[in-house]
């Protein structure tokens, strides 16, 4: 395995982590707002608050880790993506900032108003939509190299069906992942009504999630044939992913083993995410930038990998402690204790 592959695998792994934890967070915000809108807030708010409160900040770090890491391992991405993404990434950051700050203001600061719940819910949809545009851009066809530098063709981007398919996929995936996780969490809390409601959401969103995901593959056929043919070569990965999907839906449908169901869902997305990533190889940005011509020097790569391993040694036990104290702590999950400062 070359250093380039190690680097991109590490980053892709963390991006996957972000996709899962952020989806849970974004979806939870949306379901919370929706239940407020429908006057059913009493069913969901407790569960969602208990899950989100101790972990919201951690979610954000996954994202920071990814973009700092990619500039470290692939400094040329700073030039290409930095120049192109000024507007979309700025919008994403502003939304993330408002969402994160107002979450803290309402949860810890006692700022209570319906409009913040709606704000939190809606930003949870806009953020994945705006971040997912990066994936679309990476497929190529929207960037032009001119004499003065590189430019993003906004018109082509926003009229492309691929863009909108990926946006819709990001939304359905967010809601599906979140609903499955929260079903499990509510069930652990022995909160019957919340479990039922979230189980219903999970089943409702499973179908659009799988349809839009399949739709992307079809879209790519016309947009980026090279990528498409590499995707098709990996058909077996997508097949496994689909089987895991069926397993999740089956378990949720049968009201059985919600924990296993969430495990299968993680597996489904993990395999599909990596199949997509592997087929994207070697390009970071079609056709301008590959992981080979964008890579940092060897000394830096080795230093980063050492730092990464040392960092993981510190992080994994800490994350485990966090999960044990909150996610897997019966009293906490069931709302019997809070112990907030």
């Amino acid at each position: 395995m070359t250093l380039e592959i190690v680097g991109i695998s590490v980053l892709w792994f963390f991006l996957f982590g972000y996709v899962i934890v952020a989806s849970i967070d974004f979806g939870a915000g949306f379901f919370n707002a929706y239940s407020l809108f429908r006057g059913k807030q009493h069913i969901l708010t407790g569960i969602i608050q208990r899950y989100l409160s101790p972990v919201w900040e951690v979610t954000n770090v996954f994202l920071v880790f990814f973009f700092v890491g990619i500039v470290g391992f692939f400094p040329k991405t700073a030039y290409y993506y930095g120049t192109i993404l000024l507007v979309p990434a700025s919008i994403g950051v502003v939304l993330l900032a408002i969402r994160g700050a107002y979450y803290a203001f309402t949860t810890y600061g006692g700022l209570k108003h319906k409009r913040y719940t709606y704000l939190y819910g809606l930003t949870g949809l806009f953020i994945p939509a705006s971040l997912s545009i990066v994936l679309t851009i990476s497929e190529g066809g929207f960037v032009e190299e001119t004499a003065s530098g590189i430019e993003l063709d906004y018109w082509a981007l926003f009229t492309s069906p691929l863009t909108w398919s990926i946006v819709v996929l990001s939304l359905t995936a967010v809601l599906y992942i979140s609903a499955v996780f929260l079903t499990w969490y509510a069930n652990k809390a022995q909160d019957e009504p919340a479990t039922e409601l979230l189980r219903k959401y999970a089943l409702i969103w499973s179908v659009p999630a799988i349809i839009t995901a399949t739709g992307i593959i079809v879209e790519l056929r016309g947009h980026n044939p090279e990528h498409y043919s590499r995707l098709v070569d990996l058909w077996w990965m997508f097949a496994i992913s689909f089987i895991l999907f069926v397993g999740t839906v089956y378990l949720i449908g049968k009201r059985k083993a919600y924990g296993v169901a969430f495990g299968l869902l993680t597996g489904q997305f993990f395999i599909a995410f990596f199949a997509y990533g592997i087929s994207h190889y070697p390009y970071l940005l079609y056709p301008f930038l590959s992981i080979y011509d964008g890579f940092t020097n060897e000394a830096m790569a080795i230093a980063l990998i050492i730092a990464f391993i040392a960092g993981l040694g510190l992080l994994l036990p800490s994350l485990y402690l966090l999960l044990r104290l909150f996610l897997f702590n019966k009293d906490y999950v069931q709302g019997k204790r809070n112990d907030h400062a």
């Binding site: 101790p54 900040e57 951690v58 770090v61 994202l63 920071v64 880790f65 973009f67 700092v68 500039v71 470290g72 400094p75 040329k76 991405t77 700073a78 030039y79 930095g82 120049t83 000024l86 507007v87 990434a89 700025s90 919008i91 993330l96 900032a97 408002i98 994160g100 700050a101 107002y102 803290a104 203001f105 810890y108 600061g109 006692g110 700022l111 003065s148 530098g149 590189i150 430019e151 940092t296 020097n297 000394a299 830096m300 230093a303 980063l304 730092a307 960092g311 510190l314 992080l315 800490s318 994350l319 402690l321 966090l322 104290l325 909150f326 906490y332 204790r337 112990d339 907030h340 400062a341």
Partner: protein
């Protein structure tokens, strides 16, 4: 939008983001240490007041840390969005501390979540205090790593530039550059100092507003002591920074001191105005610049005449420097008199006017932080990477920077209003007296 405009707006946006972020970042680095000291004192002295102090500071801290995190995310991305050419070059050499910073931050975030939600969970209070250590360590190390990146911009090393290509890259050597020791130490000391004075300012304000509770007096005395210690440390490190500048960035020191001609036994100019290249109305301290630069009253200090016109930073940094130093000295004196006053039982330190001085000390210290960073950044001009890359060559070519400036200005306004409103409401609604009474009842089992 021409490229000159892109450069201009990129500079304005970066300056705005950093100026806003540094307020929350400074508090974020300093407050965990204060909480730790208070909680430790509370456990050691078995004093509920210090425990409650730690608890209330923690609640406020969470709000500021949230704004610090989101604005930190903004500046992290803006580095690549606004300065893509710089990051492409610098990423090859200085990516390591940036990467390590995310780990420090990760570590802090995890344990902050745990610490926040485990008050009262442990029988043994000390266990809970242990959970705070990673928060404080993570916060301080975030500052260390980021400051290392800034130090590298001032004194780049750890690579060779051959025909425009980077060779012989040594990431560790790049981290331990000559600017690093003084810069890191100065940033940490001033963060602790400023946080202490901000908390002191809140305590003094409460005492002025009619609450005569011993809680506030304890808080005030504790924070003034901590502030005094770190303001002395900041001044000592500041002196070392002067020696660093004289050695490695003489143009920055010369511009800050309006030292135009290389000379021996150079005097230090305080304040004053520039009139046609002549310094007027300045307070001149003989030999002081030579002492600051080389610890020797007769030493030679390099003047601006040694540098080409277009490589000299703007001369207004003199005021930024003087402002920072003046505030630092003032706060040291203010806290020294207060601490000695408490020991000697001087009565004037309990008067209204003295407490008002302490109240203003918090915002003043924060102003000194801002002045210090403006001095550090403007004083490096025209370079983004000293001697290697100029700011004008580093900026994005994108034409939409002006719009993004408006967007982010709006964001910071919303965050500033939001955090101020929330913090004032939080502590006004739930006063110390109220909370102490509630906790008493809770202990007796009548309240839950």
């Amino acid at each position: 939008m021409g490229n000159e405009e892109s450069v201009f707006f990129s500079r304005v946006l970066t300056e705005l983001t950093l100026s806003f972020h540094i307020i929350y970042a400074t508090i974020g680095v300093g407050i965990p240490l204060m909480i730790m000291i208070a909680q430790w004192l509370g456990i050691k002295k078995q004093d509920e007041h210090y425990i409650l102090l730690a608890r209330r500071w923690t609640r406020g801290f969470v709000i500021t840390v949230a704004v610090g995190v989101v604005t930190g995310t903004a500046i992290g991305l803006q580095l690549s969005l606004l300065w893509p050419n710089f990051m492409e070059l610098a990423g090859n050499v200085i990516a390591l501390p940036l990467f390590m910073e995310t780990f420090a931050f990760f570590f802090e975030a995890i344990f902050l979540g745990i610490y926040l939600y485990t008050w009262d969970r442990f029988e043994n209070q000390k266990k809970h205090l242990l959970l705070l250590i990673p928060v404080a360590v993570g916060a301080s190390f975030s500052a260390v790593f980021i400051t290392i990146v800034n130090a590298f911009m001032n004194a780049p090393q750890g690579f060779d530039l051959v025909n425009g290509q980077l060779v012989n890259i040594n990431p560790v050597l790049a981290m331990f550059n000559p600017a690093m020791p003084t810069k890191v130490a100065h940033v940490l000391a001033t963060a602790y100092m400023t946080s202490a004075f901000v908390l002191a300012s809140i305590g003094a304000f409460r005492l002025l507003k009619g609450s005569d509770h011993i809680y506030h007096k304890k808080a005030l005395f504790l924070t003034m002591k901590i502030g005094l210690i770190f303001s002395i440390a900041a001044a000592v490190i500041g002196d070392f920074s002067g020696k660093y500048l004289a050695e490695y960035q003489p143009e920055k020191l010369a511009a800050a001191e309006w030292h135009f001609e290389t000379s021996e036994g150079a005097p230090l100019m305080l304040y004053g105005v520039l009139d046609d290249g002549e310094v007027k109305y300045a307070l001149e301290i003989p030999y002081a610049l030579s002492i600051l630069a080389h610890s020797d009253p007769n030493a030679e200090v390099i003047g601006l005449n040694e540098f080409p016109e277009d490589e000299i930073p703007p001369l207004y940094i003199h005021y930024l420097f003087d402002g920072m130093v003046t505030i630092g000295m003032w706060m040291m004196a203010l806290s020294l008199v207060y601490v000695v006053g408490v020991w000697m039982k001087w009565s004037f330190i309990r008067t209204k006017w003295y407490r008002w001085l302490i109240v203003f000390g918090g915002p003043l210290s924060m102003l000194a932080i801002e002045l210090g960073w403006w001095f550090a950044e403007v004083g490096r001009q025209p370079w983004i990477l000293r001697g290697i890359m100029k700011v004008e060559d580093a900026a994005t070519t994108s034409g939409q920077v002006d719009l993004m400036l408006l967007l982010f200005a709006g964001l910071y306004l919303i965050l500033a209003i939001g955090s101020t409103v929330v913090l004032t409401r939080m502590f006004r609604k739930n006063t110390v007296e109220q909370e102490l009474a509630d906790r008493e009842l809770e202990k007796e089992g009548e309240f839950r």
